[in-house]
Amino acid sequence: MANTYATNEFRSGLKVLLDSDPCVLLDCEFVKPGKGQAFTRIRYRNLKTGRVLDKTFKSGEKVEAADVLDTEMEFLYSDGGDWHFMDPNTYEQYSAAKSALGGHEKWLLQGMTCGVTLYNDAILLIHPPHFVDLKVVETEPGIRGDTATGGSKNATLETGAVVRVPLFIEVDETLRLDTRSGEYVSRVKN
């Protein structure tokens, strides 16, 4: 029988199935409006859609636990259709569809360690490191002495990602990038 959680076991971070989707509880509050029924009000994120929603349960209600595990895996390669990862402890390989990458595929470099959310032992979401260091493969020639205007230009990185960078950046330089904002942070000494 599936594992369940009663409302009195609710706490933030708990992974449960709501409307058959895996969800994570963000906040929960016990509410007793009168002498009768007590409630537990939750705020949760649907891990498939990313949407944050509210829901009220009668106290004592049970919900099914979601078999969700947050772990880390090494990125191996992409065959164009799927992205392949390996659990560094078991050497077991997992493949992720494009939907699990949420646009983050452009930061992935072979051998990079990523956060992975597994649901029913399949990859649900990929979380790249917050900061990645990638080499510039293509950009217009650097213009020196023009830093005061704060101008910028496009640079193509070794993973194919295109980012805005300062004018002084040259091909073959390694850059640090923030994957959450998609922005250039700094140069990294080779």
């Binding site: 509050e29 016990f30 409006p33 009168g34």
Partner: protein
Amino acid sequence: MKRLLAVGSGPIFQVVKAFRAGETGRKHAVEFTIAEWYRLGPLAGLLTEMDLLLGDLLGTPPAERRTYRELFLAAVGVDPLSAPEERLRTLAEAHGHPGRPDDRAGALDYLFSRLVEPGLGTRVPTIVTRFPAPLAALARLSDDDSRTAERFEVFWAGLELANGYDELQDPEEHRRRFAAENRARERAGRPVASTDARFLAALEAPGLPRCSGVALGVDRLVMAAVGASSLDEVVAFREAPDN
């Protein structure tokens, strides 16, 4: 305490532990402290005393007094006293009640907590008066309107701090309300409360004098005094969540 009042104690108070199985949250604990007191006479004197006490303890400005009906009308848009029960139950479900509430009291309690309470006691403490009769608990019905009861609650700093009644005196009405309460508990699958024969006997003779009583949550009072957002911050040892 009401048995003491019946034998002529006059005004009395106690600071005492109260227990509620299974209630654990930021504003709820299985074991908590209340200050409970009674004074002779109708509610008006107790409301004034309550307001002065909050001013002394928390430095709050004078409380505003609002009837349940005016607050409910303003926030929910329907009349809690005259709206059909079905309308209230449907509305509660539309506002996220899991399924339809069992009865009128359940629908009113839910809608009030969801739509009215968040706006109470923000600028000055709010004393909510004249609760609908289905939420009378052990308060007497209003002399001028049998649809409302002389019950009040005090809200301040996002907390319900106190709940009080102009105490019901009639023993027959007590029996009816205890029976109705137990029917509701049975329907909800909760344990039925046993009859307190000595309390009912005291109501018959010598009888409860006209009095008003209130229970003030002491831990929540401390939360309000220090600006805490959870009981964890003001209670030394919290019970583990019950299994």
